[in-house]
Structure formats: C-alpha cells, structure tokens
C-alpha cells in the first residue's frame, strides 16, 4: 500500500474518529454552536444524534449514491431496528442480546424478501414499491394489532433490560461513544464493500446498467446485495437510535423520515462517504439549532413575515436542499471534487421516461 493510500485510507479516518472520541472530555463552551458546554449531557446527546444520522445517511448512500437505487422506503428498515429490538425486550421480555440478534436476523430476511420483490422493477416503479412497503409497515405499526408497538403513544424501552452502560443521563458519554463507534463501523464496512469487486459492480450499475448486463453479469443480483447491505446496516442503526432515544416512536416509520435521509445524502453529496456522513451530521445539527435560533430573542424581534419561516427548520432545510440541488448538485462533497457526480447520471436514465432512447430534445442532452 502506498504511503498516500495509507494516509488517506487509514490515518485520516482514524484521526478524525479519534479526535471525535475525545469530545466528551472537552469541558469547554462554544456559545455560538451549543447552548451548553461541549461535555455536558445535553450537547453530547445532540452530537450523538448527529452521529447516528450520519451513519444512517451513509447506509442510504450505499444504495442511492453508489448503486443508483432511489428508494422511498428506507425508513422501514430503520423502523425494524427501532421497534423490533424494543418489542422483543419490553413486550416479550427477552434479553437485550436476544433482541438484537432477532432484530438483525429479521432485518436480513425482510431485506432479502422485499428487496427481491422490489428489484423486479426499477426506476420510478422501484421507488413506488419501496414506498408502498414502507407504508404497509407504517400502517402496521400504527394499527398495532397485537399491542406491541403501542401505536401513537410509542413504546418506551424497558431500561432494566438494556445494558446499564447506556442507561441514564450519567452515561450519556457512553452513548456518545456508542454512536461514534457505530458510525466508524459503518464507515469502514461501507468503504470495504464499496471498494470490493461487488462494490465496483454496484458503481458500474449506477453508471450504465446495460453495460453491466452486456458484460454478462446479472445486475439484479448485485443490486440486491447493495440493498440488503444498506438495509441491514440501517436496522443496526435503528437499534442504536432506539438506545439513544430510549424507546420507539412512529416518527421513524413515516415517508418523511426516508426523505430526510435523502436530503442528508444529497446535501452532503451522493456517492461520497464523507459527504453522506457530513450531510447527516449537518442536517441534524441544523434541525436542532434552527429551532433554538427560531425562538431566540433576535428572531423574536424580526417582523412576522421573516420570523415565521425561520421558526420552521424544515422550511429552511427544504430551501437549502433546493438551492443545493439547483446550484451544487454534488452536494457539499462536490465543492471539493468539482462537477456533477456521475452517480446521478444513472438515476436520471432510470427516471427519464422512455429510457435512454426517447430523450429530451434539448441538444445539451445526450440520448
């Protein structure tokens, strides 16, 4: 391995994660960024949230950014992680590890089955099918036929069953390290798989699926791999999420949740690992801070017209998203590596009607 690769592949990420690991020891205040000192439970909880979403965004990036699969149902797998482990522990009184194993196994099975079915179609149809399956899951969680999820009330986790290291405000910094470790885990797993030979096929599929087929490979098999990997990692993220928030609520079952992940990945940069993670972290942070800013005295003083949109973080994030899509399609990562990420090309071909032949008439576009 060349020296440059060694630095890029290992030194940098480890340095970053190592630095992040030291955060709970920083007893400093950064008033502009955080309300409370960095090492306080409040701030650590926020940071943990950022890290978890960074990881979840990265799991979505595997199928969307790398393989070119636009799914509107990723939330389903996060929800499986968030709910199943909790249900197993709190409703069925299993042990924590039994719950975790069960959840991961369930996620693996569901991802394979639903993925196999969904991938029979592609493009818009695929997006719709994934949305449909996620909706089915959401309805199931809401209607709660067996009184497991507790519907709209949500299901608090039985904290006596959880690993004590993660229970209680005192242990917020342990939760922080958990989320950091999870993010690092996902990061390295994604990198390893994406750069392996199946991973290269995923990226090729994103570029030009027909070519892949012509080369004699069944693209559907590879797409399923990426989908299953993405979904099971998301479920694992769901478990971490559940630990962080101490329970399960319906918010993770909504289509909005998947769209949020989509926003994160696009803002950060689809097809870029650091980009997706950054997108997740930034979005979560801004979502939280914007609420605080919205109710701050400066904004209170603004005229009603300006104040109202600023009090709605989703509005600002939506607008930011639009601006990025229009002016900076590579996301923030694209600022570093210029130009439109070619990953989106493939998606374009999937979504454009008539496939690659009946293309739009503008001369700038190639058929």
């Amino acid at each position: 391995m060349t020296r440059r690769r060694l630095v890029a592949d290992w030194i940098w990420p480890l340095a970053v994660f190592g630095a992040l690991a030291l955060v709970p020891a920083l007893h400093i205040s950064i008033p502009k960024l955080f309300d409370q000192p960095v090492s306080s439970p409040g701030t650590l909880a926020l940071l943990s949230s950022c890290l978890v979403f960074g990881a979840l965004a990265l799991t979505y990036d595997v199928q969307f950014g790398y393989t070119g699969l636009l799914s509107f149902g990723h939330a389903l797998y996060v929800a499986i992680g968030v709910y199943l482990a909790n249900i197993a522990i709190t409703d069925w009184h299993w042990s924590f590890w039994q719950g975790v194993l069960f959840t991961m196994a369930a996620a693996l099975v569901v991802a394979n089955v639903l993925g196999f079915v969904s991938l029979r179609v592609s493009g818009i149809a695929f997006a719709m099918v994934t949305l449909a399956f996620a909706q089915a899951g959401a309805v199931l969680a809401l209607k709660d036929p067996h009184h497991w999820t507790h519907g709209e009330e949500g299901l608090g986790a039985d904290y006596t069953k959880l690993p004590q290291a993660f229970v209680g405000i005192v242990n917020t910094k342990n939760l922080y390290w958990l989320t950091l470790a999870f993010l690092a885990f996902v990061f390295f797993v994604v990198r390893w798989t994406v750069e392996s030979s199946p991973g290269r096929v995923w990226q090729a599929i994103r570029e030009n699926e027909q070519r892949v087929e012509v080369l004699g490979m069944r693209s559907r098999t590879y797409k399923l791999q990426a989908f299953v990997l993405s979904s099971t990692l998301a479920a694992a993220g769901g478990i971490v999420y559940m630990l962080l928030y101490n329970g399960s609520t319906l918010a993770v079952t909504q289509p909005n949740f998947t769209l949020t992940l989509l926003l994160m990945v696009v803002i950060g940069g689809a097809g870029s690992r650091w980009g997706a993670v950054l997108g997740g972290i930034l979005y979560t942070y801004l979502n939280d801070r914007l609420i605080a800013i919205g109710s701050s005295s400066t904004v209170e003083g603004l005229p009603h017209v300006l104040r109202t949109p600023l009090e709605q973080p989703l509005f600002l994030l939506g607008v930011t998203f639009i601006l990025i899509v229009v002016f900076l399609p590579g996301g923030l990562a694209g600022l570093v590596s210029r130009g439109r990420p070619t990953g989106l090309r493939r998606l374009e071909e999937a979504i454009r009607p008539g496939g690659s032949e009946g293309g739009a008439p503008e001369p700038q576009e190639t058929a």
């Binding site: 030009n208 690659s356 008439p361 503008e362 001369p363 576009e365 190639t366 058929a367």
Partner: protein, 237 residues
C-alpha cells in the same frame, strides 16, 4: 463530390457525437448538394442514424452542421425543424394513440399543408383518417411517416431506412413516393436496399466506424461490386 457542380445545401464538418460513453461519430464531414437524393450508406452500426439525429439536434453535437447559412449545431430540435428540415425516422415514430388524421394534423407546420399531394400519393390515408394509428400495418405506418414529411415544404428531408421491414410491393410504393419527394426537395437518404439507392440516389456518402470513407457519384459506386463489397460487405442487388 459529384462530378456535376451544384450548390451545396447542407454541410457537416468534423461532427463528433458521444453516446453513452461511445464515440459514435468521429469527425464526420460531407456535403449535401441541393436538389436530388444523397444516399448515406454503411454497414449496421456505423453511425448513419446518429448522423441524421445529429443534424436534427436530437443528440449532443460537436462540430458544425450548416444548412445554407444557418449553423444548426447547438440549436434546439424544434427550431431546426422550423428551418424547414423534415424527418422520416427509422422506427417511423408514428403516435399510436392518435388517429391517422391527428398524426398528420400534428405535423402541419406551414400555412398551407399539402394534403392534396399526400392523399394523391397515399389515398389509403384519407380513407383511414379516423383509424387509430396503433392498428395500422407496417406499410401503412410508413406511409404516415412519409406523409408527415410530405405535408410541409421542406428544404431538406432526412429519411432513415424507409423500406426496412417492408414487403417488396410496398418497397416499390415507397420508392415511388420518395421519387416524388425528390422532385420537390433535397433528400438525405439512409438506406440499406441498394436497389432503391440505385433508383433514387445521385450522390452517395459511405460511413465506416463513425467516419466518411467514400463520397461521390452513386451510380459510379454501385457499378463497382468490389468496392461495394469492401465498403458495405454486401453483394450488389
């Protein structure tokens, strides 16, 4: 170029087209003289259809495509067509959900579309005016496709393999229609059927692997079987 000097109506210069990563046209250069039929020949996949699509702006073009004094490269398709460029595509691209009459009506561009000419050549289209185009036979679809181009007064007509897949009797009909068209306007004809080429074409341009490898009088080319075999890999009809 043709031995008899005539005005150049259209000229392509160093045209490059990339499709899905492939360098399909690698510097195509040729002239289309005004009046008569210029045949665009070549084996399958050399870029003949792409050349026509490039002229129409249906693909991204690098290089120059001049029609008279107008530079077409970079212009949006509908504006190119408004400059009186007609198109009969390889797959006909007739709108199957519309009726025959609707297909023709959509194609009207000039103030006085030439329905009398169309119905004279293709009386069947008048009879089937309200029939849904999706129920037409291959030959009838081809008639509609040609009729659309016939309706308007075009400076140049781009015709892509009009006899493809047609029975011999229909081939003769189509050739006859094209003859009438050639009296009215300049035609750039992509065609694999060398009999039709011989009947119609004055000049011929041969493509191979995205480049022009031969240009000259059509009959001269067709009278040399070894050359035809070399360039087109077929026996002469």
């Amino acid at each position: 170029m043709s031995a008899v000097a005539s005005r150049t109506l259209m000229s392509l210069a160093d045209v490059h087209v990339y499709l899905g990563g492939s360098h399909v046209l690698q510097g195509v250069t040729f002239d289309v003289p005004e009046g008569g039929v210029t045949a665009l020949l070549g084996r399958n996949g050399v870029g003949k259809t792409t050349t026509l699509r490039a002229i129409l702006g249906l693909v991204e073009v690098r290089g120059s495509v001049k029609l008279g004094d107008d530079e077409l490269a970079g212009m949006p398709t509908h504006r190119i067509v408004k400059r009186r460029v007609g198109y009969v595509p390889e797959d006909r691209d007739v709108f199957t959900g519309l009726s025959v009459a609707e297909n023709l009506r959509l194609a009207e561009r000039d103030a006085e579309p030439r329905y009398d000419l169309v119905y004279e050549l293709f009386p069947e289209l008048e009879a089937r005016a309200d029939q849904r185009a999706g129920t037409l036979s291959g030959g009838q679809l081809q008639m509609v496709a040609i009729a659309r181009a016939l309706l308007n007064d075009n400076r140049v007509l781009l015709v892509d393999e009009p006899t493809k897949g047609l029975a011999p009797a229909l081939v003769a009909d189509v050739a006859h229609a094209l003859e009438r068209l050639a009296e009215l306007t300049t035609v750039l004809l992509v065609e694999q059927n060398l009999g039709v080429v011989r009947r119609l074409a004055k000049d011929a341009v041969v493509l191979d692997q995205g480049r022009v490898v031969h240009a000259g009088d059509a009959k001269e080319l067709l009278d040399r079987p070894e050359l035809v075999k070399k360039l087109l890999s077929v026996g002469v009809a």
